[in-house]
């Protein structure tokens, strides 16, 4: 009798491990936080087929937009932690709490892979009366409020970059014109609706190459290999070293509580996918820095990013709630 029970139990255990070993045994849903055709969408749709190959399964990707990605985040957070629902997102959920956009962020998730990081760049309309960062700052001092900066809403990349500038330079008197994404804002820049746009390098690089916009400064601590001649911001002001390097990123996540071996399998698959020459080439062309980090390294990256950015925005008085309320420590504390 006892033997039978042990036998049954071990059989059960065997099938259980077998079931996990078989992951994925059905298709996996990948929820993309942003709309079709955007940066996140392009990155995810180009890395996932390579990851599928390594995984030996199918990932069905869907775009779920709305409320700056909070709808998708809440959807995946509420789904079963079995590795069959992935969140494919960007950096902004780390700011949801301080911006009052939701009560969940990536702390509810386990990172599968932080794929790549972008570099911000300050670009201007070619007809604008300044040619680099220093001239721009001088012009703004002489004409307060007249220079139009593009923005993508509170917490977006431009708001973080302008917060950085104003905390380094002790103020920035410009008019921020809101757009619903960096694509439309860069279109507005080329048409002269705005003068300066802090954008991610990948979105602006083709316009820069064609001379439809000019680089004022790359927001980085060293020259960029894609634009070796363009000035970088620490050339103008050392104080930016405190905040840089900083940039938006893309990552794949699963809800906390997903079995470890599933996380390991997915992480390995996305790590392999990210190293595929096609993907490496795509990231390089668009000026993204390939990261493909996972596990503790990814967790450390996320919390460092969140601390730095949330407090930067808090100090610039752009948040709705203090990071302190959510236990986000000031960097260096």
């Amino acid at each position: 009798m006892k033997r039978m029970i042990i036998g049954a139990l071990s059989a059960l255990a065997l099938t259980a491990t077998a079931a996990v070993a078989e992951y994925p045994e059905k298709e996996i849903q990948g929820i993309i936080q942003w709309g079709a055709g955007g940066s996140t969408d392009t990155v995810m749709r180009s890395v996932t087929p390579h990851a599928e190959e390594a995984l030996g399964g199918t990932v069905v990707m869907q775009n779920m937009t709305g409320a700056v990605g909070a709808i998708a985040l809440n959807h995946v957070a509420g789904s079963a932690a079995d590795g069959y629902t992935l969140l494919m997102g960007a950096e902004n959920p780390l700011l949801y709490k301080v911006m009052g956009l939701g009560d969940k962020d990536y702390s509810e998730f386990t990172p599968i892979s932080i794929l790549a990081r972008g570099t911000p760049v300050l670009v201007a309309n070619p007809n604008s009366p300044f040619n680099d960062y220093a001239e721009m700052m001088a012009y703004i001092k002489e004409n307060p409020g007249e220079v139009k900066f593009g923005s993508t809403g509170p917490g977006g990349l431009p708001s973080v970059v302008t917060a950085m500038i104003s905390s380094v330079e002790g103020g920035l008197d410009v008019t921020a014109v809101p757009y619903d994404g960096d694509g439309p804002a860069l279109t507005g820049l080329q048409g002269g609706a705005i003068d300066v746009m802090p954008a991610v390098l990948g979105a602006a690089i083709e316009g820069i190459r064609a001379g439809n916009m000019k680089v004022l400064a790359i927001m980085d601590v060293a020259a960029n290999t894609k634009l070796p001649d363009a000035p970088y911001i620490t050339q103008f002001n050392d104080a930016y070293n405190t905040y840089l390097p900083w940039g938006p990123f893309f990552g794949v996540f699963v809800p906390n509580g997903t079995p470890d071996d599933v996380v390991a399998k997915l992480s390995a698959a996305y790590a392999t996918g990210a190293q595929h020459p096609d993907f490496v080439q795509l990231m390089d062309d668009r000026g993204f820095t390939l990261m493909a980090i996972t596990g503790d390294e990814a967790d450390a990256f996320l919390s460092k990013w969140q601390q730095g950015t949330a407090w930067l925005l808090q100090d610039a008085d752009l948040t709705k709630a203090s990071p302190e309320e959510f236990g986000i420590a000031r960097p260096g504390e």
């Binding site: 994925p24 045994e25 059905k26 298709e27 849903q29 199918t58 069959y84 509170p154 752009l318």
Partner: protein, 192 residues
Amino acid sequence: MEHIDPEHHDGTSDATPGGERDKRRPGEVFFAGFLLIASVGLLWSAWGIENPFGPNGLSAPRSIPVAATLAMVISAAIIIFKTAKLPLDRSETLARDILPVTAVLFALFLIAYGVLLRPLGFLPTSALFLIVAIKLLSKRGWLWTLTVSLTSLIVIWLIFRIVFSVLMPAGIVPEAEFIQLFRGLIRGGMAQ
């Protein structure tokens, strides 16, 4: 007065069935009143929209909503005033012309569908809906009803689920496992 013409809707009226121009349909004033009250409520809600990052100036998030709901309130007020002045169309009744039993029944079906969709899943809910609806409307045999409804459901499912990978709630049906099994079979078949 009691003259009832069962065919006073000539079949063309179903595109824009606005009734007769100089008469008021049953329930029309009530509907206009509902719109007016709803518009006032929305205007109030629009006025409460605060700009979280600045003053409530011309560029505030409330500006267009307030303008739109104000236009709704004004036009709804004019509509109710105009409608109330028209004579009631006595040849129509609410129960027969506006809300016949079948329409109410189907509206209820749709609500039931919405409620059951998540727990039961797309396939069972839709099968249930189609079978009941088609049986009720066509008054034909069970075999015919089942064939027509299940065939069309399978076609719709194939198009949306397989071709367009629209993941309707699976509910109690293990769709994903089934598809994976099928994929495995095809792969296995091709490998041989």
